[in-house]
Symmetry: C2
Subunit: 349 residues, 2 copies
């Protein structure tokens, strides 16, 4: 991945002295932000990698952990952000560490450049990653460069390549399915995410598990896929409600709360009552869920536990050189039952 | 505020050498977290202050800005957090800066100790504060110690003691009042916050402005005060709906969305329809607002503009030594009209 580029070549390309480049890399430069930016750009363009493995043994520890995350679209809230950040801050503070936060970049190369710069300058000792998907480029990059990190999430269901904690979304959806089946539902639809979503597929597995446990057959007509938005939830549900009565669902499990909000709006728009006529479940247990009309049955994740645990694991690694067992851990979420699944009376016969 | 305590006294009290204390203060110590914690505790107990005014001239700049905030209670979301943080991260990155985040402490002395430690060790060059109230202790502390900072919010309506941006909540509520009056409402109640809330009082001023503009009299029976929770919104509205018909309100302005959600639940619980029978407005325009049934008319704050601007002002100060004008700036929020105020038909006569 890296050519053998020297510090001198970087200096020549950036039009500055060898010493200036060295100082920038070591975060000791007294140069203009423009010059510093240009030097980092050259470093990225030439794929120059300082010999930081040696350096990392010598360098002073910053006692700082880096973290970024993809911001939510304006009309949505990240329901776990506040609690996740604070649980990490508090666990870090107990050990004398802090968190350095930096902007998310959708462009992979730019994002990796930021990780490289933060670690190589000694600004951070390691990273916490979140929202990992199949094609996450940061994981192989950090592994290859021996940069310490832990993840909230994993690359696939069998991934053991790095230390992580993850919520077993499949377990959560299976709980929702068992709950719906116990209420008498037999025709249950799923509002799922696109097939390239690792988290979405994990959750959808719980739908299949729930069907199998109840001895129900998979019906492809009852599985709708799309982005996890209110609009997709509305459209998919409108389609489901137009199916012939013999297959029309009496309950809908949604892979997140936004889809469930759209589903409930679609149900009301045809004069039916969510909960009484059609059961609806979400996922995330966002604060919004309990204030909906009717309040939404949803699945909550133990976010403070995850944040605290991830931070402790990473710091423990930084101080001992080994990760505590279990390196990889799955946590079961919890079903929160509310009115959106209550009041259903199954048809006789 | 500070006694003349020497480094030697701190070392004696902590049972370590002079050099160890010096290294801890300069963030160069290779001591156990427990020892470091004990030393910082002694520093706080003895009110020892390193001569950081001299040091800050000599010390290397960290190009890092510190920020903390009070976490939301678990059943609520901070609707502005994600967007506020990212707007600050991005503005910082453009100038080659980062943000260091640290836990909020309800205990004032502990919180000031963290500010002191972060600044004196050179971990951060300055701070951004938010959610400022009348009795905020960090503002006089940072001013007295000449630690650079800017605020989202101010200490009172006439405060010019430090650089800030703030949303003019009174302007927002006055917009809501004008809107309700234009729809024909004459009996308008306010769900206000406790009298010790600076933000709450700023917003309530807009209610009085709106009444005055419409030539309506203040009726103390129509002003309810309490914490900005769903429960308070529900109870206060239930009380208002039980008032004799001649003073019973036809519209309710709430100082935040949570109170408005409670108000709408109370209205529905007596068989009335929010929007058609009783108009309801919120404040914050939280993502939840648009997904309620009916969607809630609310007041939105230009958070990304505020975050970007605050960060730019602080960095500009750090690099030039002066704050750009205006040092103190108020921004008008924006009324978002939805169904919770539509459909009302005023009684004739």
């Amino acid at each position: 991945m890296f050519k053998s580029v020297t510090l001198k070549e970087v200096a020549a390309e950036a039009g500055v002295s060898y010493q200036t480049v060295s100082k920038v890399i070591n975060n000791k430069a007294n140069v203009s932000p423009e010059t510093e930016k240009r030097i980092w750009q050259v470093i990225a363009d030439l794929n120059y990698t300082p010999n930081y493995r040696g350096r990392s043994l010598r360098r002073q520890r910053s006692n700082t952990i880096g973290y970024t995350w993809e911001p939510s679209p304006p009309e949505q809230t990240n329901p776990i952000l506040d609690s996740f950040l604070h649980s990490m801050f508090r666990a870090a503070e107990e050990k004398g560490y802090y968190m350095l936060c930096f902007p998310f970049h959708a462009d992979d190369a730019r994002m990796l450049q930021v990780y490289q710069q933060l670690y190589n300058t000694g600004r951070v000792d390691g990273f916490i990653l979140s929202r990992l998907n199949y094609d996450e480029s940061s994981v192989p990059y950090l592994l290859e460069n021996k940069i310490p990190f832990v993840g909230f999430g994993r690359l696939d269901d069998h991934d053991q390549s790095f230390p992580y904690m993850d919520v077993d979304g499949g377990n959560g959806i299976a709980q929702a399915m068992d709950h719906l089946v116990s209420l008498g539902h037999r025709k249950i639809a799923a509002l799922a995410w696109p097939e390239n979503s690792r988290v979405g597929n994990n959750r959808l597995e719980g739908y299949f598990t729930g069907l199998a446990t109840a001895g129900l057959r998979r019906n492809p007509n009852l599985i709708m896929r799309g982005e996890g938005t209110l609009e997709v939830g509305f459209e998919a549900t409108s389609h489901l409600l137009n199916l012939p009565e013999e297959i029309r669902p009496t309950a809908i499990v949604c892979m997140n709360d936004m889809m469930a909000i759209g589903a409930m709006q679609a149900i009301r728009s045809v004069g039916l009552q969510p909960g009484r006529d059609i059961g609806v479940t979400g996922f995330d247990d966002s604060p919004t869920a309990r204030y909906l009309n009717p309040p939404l049955t949803s699945i909550s994740q133990p976010i403070p536990t995850i944040g605290e645990n991830l931070m402790k694991r990473l710091i423990d690694y930084l101080e001992t050189g080994t990760y505590q067992e279990p390196r990889c851990e799955l946590i079961a979420p919890k079903l929160e039952i509310r009115e959106s699944t209550m009041g259903y009376v199954p048809a006789k016969g």
